[in-house]
Subunit: 193 residues, 2 copies
DNA sequence: TTGACTAGACCGACCAGTCGGTTTATTTTC
DNA sequence: GAAAATAAACCGACTGGTCGGTCTAGTCAA
């Protein structure tokens, strides 16, 4: 179903991922999507409402990629957890070559666009909650005192990814994202040995 | 020496740290600094040139804070390295309560403002090179194979901080920065035990 | 015929940057 | 050492253009 609304959302997603929210104008979006301004403001009450919809769609697609990896077939929970992190490291260039929409929106809009800020908060929490059980076996295998929880590991992994994206942009070198995740992998390996 | 130029730079630094580069207008800056538009474009050939100057000043101030901590008095290199990370964790709310200018600029401008992008690349490399020898003792004390270098630890610590800032903005909770650094501290402690 | 949807001209706020001109400080000349 | 000349700093109205959003006029399916 390529309705005008869904077309605007996916077009905006593509443009905003590369140029960011503020630098992507409504005119640009409707022109690329081949619809009119009236159509836009019939479907969305504001650019911000479109932004929230874009974040949602981006999140759903991210979930799909996260859930499709050979790591899932591994029986041993600890091995599966480690393979998951490796899977994300390998997939990172494709996933975040142009940055992460959620992180980019958070940096640019959390202080000025409350509706999008609330949306991001919810999506990030959701993602963290989904990753936590996957990483939990690492936390359980850690024998040191002051061991992190699965939830904390999930939260930190997300922080490392977002940080890797920032470093990638600062250096103009996308491989920095995989470097950051690789270092996270060193961390969890150190925890379980 | 409170020349008009230095006044504009520090005023812009304060405004841009909170609202970001793109959302801080030249009119806003000159109005807050109490100077005229003509004066602005006499001192800077463009807003971008001011942006680069702001990044430089922010970097210098960051260096100063990084270099003033009781960790420096510790004799044992490994203990000093660990105390340094703890020092940064403790100082993180004050340092990055409103975000990190370098990270914010990197996210927003690296693709569109080449002069600022080059400036960020240089400043980030500089910071990494200064932190690396401080963290080197941790790398040396690590007995596991595939041990990180001091430089890699420095790079990762910066990534973790920037990632913590993104998470803090996404959740509207500044304490997430300290949480991220705390997790990095768990990592280096795991490396040296 | 009614209501969802589309079209695109139009609006006012805003923005980076320009330009002609004034004021202030420094140097040169007699 | 005063006047003249030069240079640098500073001023703010103005310009051309962009942006998010509105409004009126239609189209089309039920």
């Amino acid at each position: 179903m390529a309705t005008a609304k869904s077309k605007m959302i996916s077009t905006a997603r593509g443009l905003m991922l590369i140029r960011g929210y503020n630098s992507t104008s409504v005119d640009e979006i409707i022109s690329a999507a081949g619809v009119s301004k009236g159509s836009f403001y019939h479907s969305f009450k504001s650019k911000e409402e479109l932004g929230a919809a874009v974040a949602e769609e981006y999140f759903e697609e991210g979930l799909a990629v996260m859930g499709t990896g050979s790591y899932q077939e591994i029986q041993d929970p600890l091995e599966r957890a480690l393979a998951f992190v490796e899977h994300i490291e390998k997939a990172s260039p494709a996933l975040w070559n142009h940055g992460c929409m959620l992180g980019s929106f958070a940096m640019d809009l959390s202080g000025t666009h409350p509706a999008i800020a609330a949306c991001l908060n919810r999506l990030m929490d959701n993602l963290e909650a989904r990753m936590a059980p996957l990483l939990e076996p690492i936390a359980l295998a850690c024998r040191c005192d002051d061991a992190p929880s699965g939830r904390e590991l999930a939260n930190h992994m997300m922080a490392v990814i977002e940080g890797g994206i920032v470093m990638a942009k600062a250096h103009g070198d996308p491989s920095r994202i995989a470097t950051a995740i690789h270092e996270f992998r060193r961390y969890v390996k150190a925890l379980v040995t």
